[in-house]
Amino acid sequence: MRVAHLFVLGAFMASPAAAAQWMSCTDAIGEASFDYFIADGADFSVSAVTVTARERVWASDPANGPGDPILVGNFHDDVTLSFVDATDEARNKVAELKVFKATEGETTVYGGTLRIAGVGAWVVSCAPTS
């Protein structure tokens, strides 16, 4: 019985540290965006990305919108920095997002840069959208 209780307790303690959500990073005038989906789980993991620049769209999952196919590349998240890359099928980098974050209480602010290869670069800020 005690063992069963420990298993239940362990299951609660192993519950995801990060809830699944989309993060949307855009420049000030909405010319470019980089949205990424943080998968449910204890570790930071990005499972989908959608990138736009002017009229162009790239998406890792057609369910998230039409666009040229891309893949989720390298990603990282810690207390001060998040970065996410998107690549083509040959693993060439299509877009890279690098944002710093600052947290005070329950508020977190994200600011950084977005580069889309051969298209341009933008200053972006990010916010969760769901």
Partner: protein, 143 residues
């Protein structure tokens, strides 16, 4: 005449070696309390230093390292420069106690002819901002 030119060149070169890059930053998004920040980043033989820095919440509090500035008294306690990113931590002394008052973290991205610098600024008790910066470079003459 040649000696004068040589001396002038040496003086200019010496001055350039101690020149700093000036970063001028502002809040990225529309906000009720826009913020500005600026600092000089110097890279010398002994590493990086910040001889001047100031930040100001519009119509509100600010911090400065310049002695004759109205918001003087702050100092830069930590400088991390790594792979295009800069992190500065600001302290101020109140009643003999060192207090962490602000932190700035920016990254510079170069893309073709464009260069973008952006990040975040946190002012203790003041707020959080996404910021973007312009850089005025002062290159040594021998570059």
């Amino acid at each position: 005449m040649r000696a004068h030119l040589l001396i002038a060149a040496l003086l200019t070169t010496t001055g350039a070696a101690s020149a700093a890059d000036t970063y001028t930053c502002r809040s990225l998004n529309e906000t009720d309390f826009p913020v500005t920040a600026s600092f000089d980043l110097r890279h010398g033989d002994d590493g990086y230093s910040v001889p001047r820095a100031e930040m100001q919440i519009e119509g509100d509090m600010g911090y400065s390292t310049t002695p004759d500035h109205p918001s003087n008294g702050a100092f830069v306690s930590e400088i991390d420069v790594d792979d295009g990113s800069i992190r500065l931590v600001f302290h101020q002394t109140y009643d003999g106690y060192d207090v962490d008052v602000a932190e700035l973290h920016v990254v510079t991205l170069s893309e073709g002819v464009y260069e973008l610098t952006a990040g975040v600024l946190q002012i203790g008790g003041g707020g959080l901002w996404a910021i973007q910066c312009d850089i005025a470079y002062e290159h040594p003459l021998d570059h």
